[in-house]
């Protein structure tokens, strides 16, 4: 049993680590971007899929993290300090704003996060003297973890891979912890959790702040990745794209959003080279997934797997998509 449990993650990690060997230079760069986006989208997937908080302003935290690196980076050039500062500041902003926001839910939560995101966007757009306004600013800080500047693409790729794996692992740990279970309980039945004596606001606030922190962390990596930040990173369009990535990938799981991020970024990069109408194609895919596969790509893939897999396994047929909150993410290893 034990071997079985460790086999797949090990395999996956090995693939990630060996990938640069088969990819082109551009492929490595694109995969790095996918992994950064995956961290960001996982942070959004966390609050949507496990706490039921649908936010349309999550890019604000991502952008905030990126700007922290860009702005503080002009004064001090220590990668550890900058990345931690980005995560902490985004986390604090998420905590303070969350104090207000988590009182609302559903469409109201969506609207208030949207408004908040646009407010931050406007601040960074307008503060031209500090942030460069619409023209954005270059990131002067160099990536250095204490053993020489990381300038090669492959070096950056490995850094991002480790960041992704660690984020994923921490999120798994969080979800299967009592705290995470409490959060999921709130999503399933809020009044019951209240009746059981849980202070649901505390739980929501914690998961919201955590998610903001992770988004800020991803934003910080993105600032290093592009060496340039602009207010578009905080714009609601980007929040909306992240939301689409979560839904396309599969709500209520951890890997789903990550797959959605990969799917979206790759599609955006390639389809848009052939046609200017790529948002239309994305739109059709999105509608199809929402109509026919509410669990996203992940569910469609599972469906296919169940159809195709050999008969002898049939006796242990399992539900296509595990019930929410009782899924494969929840079982401890």
């Amino acid at each position: 049993m034990r071997a079985n449990i460790w086999r797949t993650p090990t395999l996956f990690i090995a693939i990630l680590l060996l990938l640069p060997l088969i990819l082109t230079n551009y492929g490595v760069k694109l995969t790095s971007e996918v992994l950064i986006m995956a961290i960001f989208v996982m942070s959004l997937g966390l609050i949507i899929g496990f706490a039921g908080l649908v936010s349309l302003g999550h890019a604000a935290f991502f952008g905030l993290g990126a700007y922290v690196v860009a702005l503080l980076g002009t004064h001090l050039d220590n990668t550890y300090v900058l990345i931690i500062a980005a995560a902490v500041i985004s986390g604090i902003v998420a905590f303070v704003s969350g104090l207000l926001f988590i009182r609302s839910s559903g469409a109201y939560f969506l609207m208030i996060t949207l408004a908040f995101g646009q407010m931050l966007f406007a601040i960074f757009y307008k503060m031209e003297s500090v942030t460069g306004g619409a023209d954005g600013m270059a990131v002067s800080a160099s990536l250095n973890l204490g053993f020489g500047a990381i300038e090669s693409r492959v070096g950056f790729y490995y850094l991002v891979t480790i960041a992704f794996l660690v984020s994923y692992y921490l999120l798994r740990v969080f979800i299967s912890s009592p705290l995470g279970k409490g959060v999921r309980g709130i999503k399933e039945n809020e009044s019951r959790m209240t009746a059981l004596g849980y202070n649901i606001r505390h739980y929501k606030l914690i998961v919201y702040s955590l998610s903001g922190m992770l988004a800020g962390f991803a934003g910080a990596l993105y600032a290093y990745f592009n060496q340039y930040v602009s207010p578009d990173l905080l714009h609601w369009m980007f929040s909306g794209q992240a939301l689409i990535m979560v839904i396309v990938g599969g709500v209520g799981t951890l890997v789903g959003p990550a797959i959605g991020a990969g799917f979206f970024v790759i599609l955006q990069s390639y389809i848009s080279s052939y046609t200017d109408r790529w948002p239309m194609i994305m739109g059709v895919i999105f509608v199809a997934i929402v109509l026919y596969g509410r669990g996203g790509i992940l569910q469609i893939a599972m469906l296919l797997w169940n159809k195709l897999r050999p008969k002898r396994h049939k006796e242990e047929e399992t539900p296509i998509l595990p019930k929410e909150g009782n899924g494969f993410e929840s079982v401890k290893g």
Partner: protein, 406 residues
Amino acid sequence: MVGKKRLGKSRIWISTLLTLVLLVLGACSNQTASSGEGEPIKIGAILSFSGNFAPLSESIKAGMELYFEQNGNKIGNRPVTVKYEDDEANPQVALRKYRQLVDSEKVDLLVGPISSSVVYALRDVIEKDKIVLIVANAAANDISWDKKSDYIYRVSISNWQDGTPGAAYIANNIGKKAYVLAPDYPAGHETIEAFKAAFVAAGGEIVKEAWPKLGNNDYATYLTDIQQTKPDLVFPFLAGTDAIRFVQQYEQFGLKGKIPLTGTQEFLDPLVTDPAGQAAEGIIGATMYTAALDNATNKAFVEAFTKKYGKTPNYFNVQGYDSAQVIAKAVEKAGSVKSEDLTKVLKDIAFSSPRGELAMDPMTHNLTLDMYLAKNVWKDGKIVQEIMGDAMKGLKIPETPPAKSK
């Protein structure tokens, strides 16, 4: 126990899926190298085909395609392929497209972008990768000043050159008190700043500045304000749909004919005046190009353009045409597509543009332009531009930012 078993299955499945996704990444990338005689020259064009800037991008593309078509899609004896990419006017997307073009497609040089924020975003990576960029539209002044790069050359116009040339004529002939209006974003501020400096130097006075947001629908508040301020003239800088709406609402408010409307070259271009219709009649300003310009290159250009596309060319078409032309000239003269050879000839490249005989200013990597005074007149059921004379000959952007006028 059953739970654990199940878990193993789904895990295997998930990771297989992820592997597939990641393998797709690898499979998608294709590599081609190009160099030497007879090998195709690859040009990457980063423009904004979706969103507000779409008509501008389509115009530039049309101009480029016309030039290459006229020359058999060849530079020297090497065929040319142009790869067009859409940056959605978003610098982050533009950077991704840039990497795709440079790393994966291995383009020899770049043309682009529309938006100033995109050119700023690309500037540092271009310096690092040492790849030549021919700027076909982005007008940010700083690309000729602090952000000047050995690899970036502008064949369009800078904001400074857009705002400055009409000012003296307007102050001397139309009125001394100007009401200025521009969208609240960097290009708007840069253009108005340039106009203000030149207008004040010519003895004029700015009575009021208005800064509507970019992509405004309703100019009623500003038009009411103009009615109450009673300036001698209005000088706006607006582009695309903003300009069309402003011109139409200016007429609806009954201001047309009462307070003279002037403006930047955007207001003297078919891209704005065709949809705006008769409302655009009478606008006076300085422009670098109108289809009515009297020179041999322009006559041939207008004829070829009208034949191919069935409409009057606008100045974005010319920017596209000239971008293609400058690339061809530079590659022929340098005899290679290597950046270090190209930059040597691009610094002071001279060419026959439909705008006249033009040359690159080696100090700013920006064109020295002749600016013409033009007026919109209503003729045969459409607006045409009539040239009234020269606004400024050989107008160069200053080598350093001028001191701010306050």
